[in-house]
Symmetry: D2
């Protein structure tokens, strides 16, 4: 393969303004694909403290310049210019609008009423037409919210909707996040389960067709519902629309070397989907063996991939206030009764128990824990896979 | 009437603990009623900055000592010991858990699945039995959440559920809040609309049977649903369960003189409901005229009471960032096109418009506005009644 | 007088950048004077929540367009683009860098070592030369900090020093602030006491030649020290350098009508100093009566002006935690023993004192109080003039 | 040696109250010494996020129960009940009062005017008398501030002064802190330099006799000044008063295993000072070799101990905004020109430099870096030893 240096175009998206009039802007990078391959939208840093995705986008840009690009690729670092710059003390206020408390990743738009009339009107349209026309319906619906709303939009909606417009243009959507202190894990729609094996990520959450405000849901739920509606009419559709939230590890950290690994993981998936040239080898099953264009470059890692359904992904809230020595190793099954953490309660020293070991009565895989040692009773201590299985 | 000095009992409710082990406690005051009159639960300050309700409870306690009390009355100031004490800069972080961003008044519990089996099992029970047994069902359901939950509860749920247990014991529930900078207004379930005229509050929001996490909804929705379920079986029930969120004006302020007025407003409602002796005169209709025990003490004020449905209570988000000179008077219809505010944009002086007048294209009643002059594009500038009418 | 429409030039000053790379910018407006009259520097909003000064600058700009301007005038709204846009909950985090806690108005630069060598080197220079050369010394010293510092500057220093450079260019400096909830008051160097009577502000703090980090001190202390050093050598100098911090009332509020009054107050002072044409009449003493150019336009208000020395300006810290009903009227002498506030302690109801009246044992003038009703033990409740007198 | 189980007494110190009336309390643990050996005061967690000291106190308590204790030992975990429990987002607002921004460890009391009159009055007193009487002077001075202050104290002063009273009772004071993300290091008064070698800490800052508000300074500066004043009168005194700030590593973390190491480090110092039985061997010089009671238990580690003077401990402020990949290893000399960090600026990708390497022009030892990857221009990026040497 003759490598070419691809041209990346940069534009600046205006997503809002602050009290001083300062513009809120987001940089947008685009590679034009050379074919009708699937198009891709990748964003990072919607939560202010979750910065590692920016480094992954940096490494993706560096690599994509020298790869054979087939589909359009749009990359958006610093997706949330409010959250990105908002400090409370030394840390970045990560997850929510500091004024309203609303989670920045629960502000996307979903209109469940679009599907039924669309199917009625386009019952016999070609698959190609359906994809093009329904995409336009989604885009028009967002434009309606953005531009024709007498009472306006919240700060977060204005940001989210403009990002969502770009995401709706793409077939494949990756929203790069991190946990607080966390192992890598992947939110994957149940129907796209096969794709999870092309990411070098050991833990996958399989999520249902339910909209809870996040970008992945906002972009795959309409298509899932559309496919179901056509299927109910006896017409199965293969839409090849996939959206993932990729949790890259811990927040408040940039590591460019790890970012290169994660960029390769993303490229392995994109290679598998035909967005870049070089079809990756199947992760576990060798399904693609023997194909012509097989590239050794983007081969998924041979790792055990654990999964659980979203309903079985449990937040464990601290049964007491105290200061936590987190003990459980991430990503490895923890037998029932083994300690997740021990909690120090110096106020009890001498006339109570100063040290408490905390465990669960069932086997779990610890995925992430709270960002601070200091917890109140009821602080989310750990999130764990329960009822997990291997992909 | 011979006035008696009533005894108030005080207890301390433990609702959680902080990282240092410091206990989160809430003081609870109780008057025992002398009959089977309706019982009452009143709390204040669930949102940290909304402190005026504590002053109203102070004035209620002072007055109730000398009134003829028929029903049990429970009063809970400082309902949220986290929010109450949480400062960010000079101000109290009012509305949400500082760790998670979740609104403290969206954490109550509602289980819509309780009604259908209950009605099946108690189709022929007496009204008295139904009320007693369903109350127990609600209490048991809360206890189940509090005590039998392997993964625990959030900090806010633990507080909210314990308050809710007390609220479920009562027939009438008043949750005392304030707006940011606000006129007084009342959230009233649609079915209890007649009661709105017994509060000295000029603006009433009529809210539907939909649970969105708040205490008023958590306590009236189950009963409304129960009544509907019995009605669907051809058995109309009069349950006399009412819950209100009373918005006392602006946050971050204590005014004991105004609190006395608001205490009298609450007592007027309680008198009307027979919780304290002395039946109030009807507000608009004189319905109770000629009754024996009529007391002149708690007569609702003769004021114009505006109302609108919750769906017509609109948040207006700032169309631009800037610094706001709020102009519109609260509580008075504002004609279409008249300015709500003017927004200063000094960055535009000389090469743009430094002053922008903001208006709506329809008549509204401004009810509250944002707490600060500095707003981002998308900050909730005003909340207004639209499609309003008089009660 | 034939009024002319003056030309204002606008420039954008780059004072820093955020994590996303977003530039921190400050708009700068300038009128060129038509003579060698004193020059003026006016800035507003160094503390994020203290926004009213922006409205005063707006009204100044509107008025100055039509006045006869003799001296150069520089006006800088939104002086602190970090603080201006930084929300914690609904309020603007006013007074300090959210990362470090350092008060934004304690970051200016003062080098006490400049005076002695300067006087030695310029002992016989003309007054004109001294003013020009020492100004350059101050500017060079700031440039040294900004540009030749291996370890860099804090975020706040970088902003402050760039503003200070502009301020050092001027003879008269006004830094527009507000209190939390506050009456208007003026910080005035002791030597400039006569000028205080040309502002329409009833309360003046007379401050000594001590640098504590603020802009007014940073700009007048060097000149005061210089004058003292020359005086010690038997050479009295009249430098006509004055700096004031003008406290415009309460924070978090914009009122364009009040701002017009305050703009007129500033113009009255500028008129008195000969920056704009029309010499104002003396405030209390009629000293300027009979002068030729007397204009009726900018006559100081006939009001009682109270003053006290900075050492007698006392912060009163709350003796207890609780919720405060602020009672004392601002700006009026409060006799010893009269209540400043009453503090509600609902947790004590029934078994302690629920209401506490707070007073001082000496006569004071309350100037400002805390922004919230909720205070901890030790929160600054009031600031008061003690040992006050009239100007 | 027959080991005894020592009795620890626990008391609760009331240091303030919050808006709700909630008491701010601090647990205090005390071992009574069996002789007139030096007494010790150890506190932890004055900065909210710096929690590891609590774990060290836990391990100290566990060990001290079984050691031979000669001097009184007071241990205070959770020294700051406001800071300890104050979250902004997921993190603990560490370093300053959330209302005022004042650093919690800059609020202690120092009165430089006590020394001169004391020396005049006690010029011929015995060393024993001087120590006892001057201690009482310090205690009385604190009491004066706490109890006889018409205008009250700030929240932080009230906490700090009460802790300081306990610290003044002791000869040796250890204030346990942490950096943000940090190596272990020790703040040591210049005169106590020999003691630094008895802590297992590789980096020592030698600090002068200047009060900047911290506990170590507040407790050693008066004694240092006293000794100097007597020395100036020709009377050298050996007061054996030492205070240290011990920086245990990174904030927001509890590690009980590491805490055991740090407890042993503290015990090694206490053994050396004769507070507990068993004289430690000299760290570098073997000075104590051959002494009778030599215990092998608490021998200082054989490590290279670097030191620098406080004036050479430099904060390096970020020359740009961006997202930081911290590169430099802590505690090891970094040659001039070698990168401390690389800063990602995705907004510059394509039309500027997206990656910037940051270095200094001189050799330094990096000691700590900022807690977050996201920095503004001017954020304190690193603190480094310059002009360092070995102890």
């Amino acid at each position: 393969m003759t490598k070419t240096v691809n041209h990346v175009t940069k534009s600046i998206l205006n997503v809002g303004e602050m009290a001083s009039g300062a513009k809120l802007t987001v940089p947008v990078y685009r590679f034009a694909g050379q074919s009708d391959a699937p198009s891709v939208y990748i964003q990072a840093n919607m939560h202010g403290a979750e910065v590692q995705g920016n480094a992954v986008i940096y490494q993706l840009l560096e690599q994509l310049r020298n790869l054979h690009i087939l589909g359009d690729i749009t990359l958006v670092p610093y997706a949330n210019p409010v959250g990105c710059n908002h400090k409370n003390g030394e840390y970045t206020l990560g997850r929510f609008d500091p004024i309203t408390g609303v989670n920045w990743n629960r502000m996307y738009h979903h209109n469940p009423d679009l599907v039924v009339p669309f199917v009625q009107d386009n019952v016999d349209a070609s698959e190609q037409e359906i994809k093009a026309k329904f995409k336009q319906v989604l885009l028009d619906d967002i434009d309606q919210q953005l531009d024709h709303n007498m009472y306006g939009l919240t700060t977060g909606q204005r940001i989210a909707y403009q990002l969502q417009k770009m995401a709706h243009q793409a077939d494949l959507v990756l929203d790069l996040h991190t946990g607080p202190i966390s192992s890598k894990h992947l939110y994957c729609p149940e129907y796209a389960r096969a794709s999870a094996s092309y990411f070098n990520i050991e833990h996958t959450l399989l999520i249902p067709n339910e909209f809870d405000g996040a970008l992945d849901e906002a972009t795959f739920c309409p298509w899932w519902s559309l496919a179901q509606a056509y299927a109910a009419k006896g017409r199965p559709l293969v839409l090849n629309k996939e959206s993932f939230t990729v949790e890259l590890g811990s927040q408040e950290q940039i590591d460019l070397d790890v970012a290169l690994d994660d960029a390769n993981s993303v490229l392995t998936y994109l290679s598998y989907k035909g967005v870049i040239k070089g079809v990756s080898k199947g992760a576990n099953n060798g399904a693609n063996k023997g194909e012509e264009n097989t590239s050794e470059q983007f081969v998924p890692a041979q790792i055990t991939r654990y999964a659980c359904y979203l309903k079985d992904y449990k937040a464990f809230y601290s049964p007491m206030g105290g200061m936590v020595d987190y003990l459980a190793e991430f990503g490895v099954p923890l037998p029932a009764g083994e300690p997740l953490a021990r909690i120090l309660r110096m106020d009890n020293y001498g006339d109570g128990d100063a040290l408490h070991y905390i465990s669960l009565d069932k086997e779990v895989i610890p995925i992430l824990h709270f960002a601070s040692a200091s917890v109140n009773q009821g602080t989310e201590l750990y999130k764990v896979f329960t009822e997990f299985f291997t992909l």
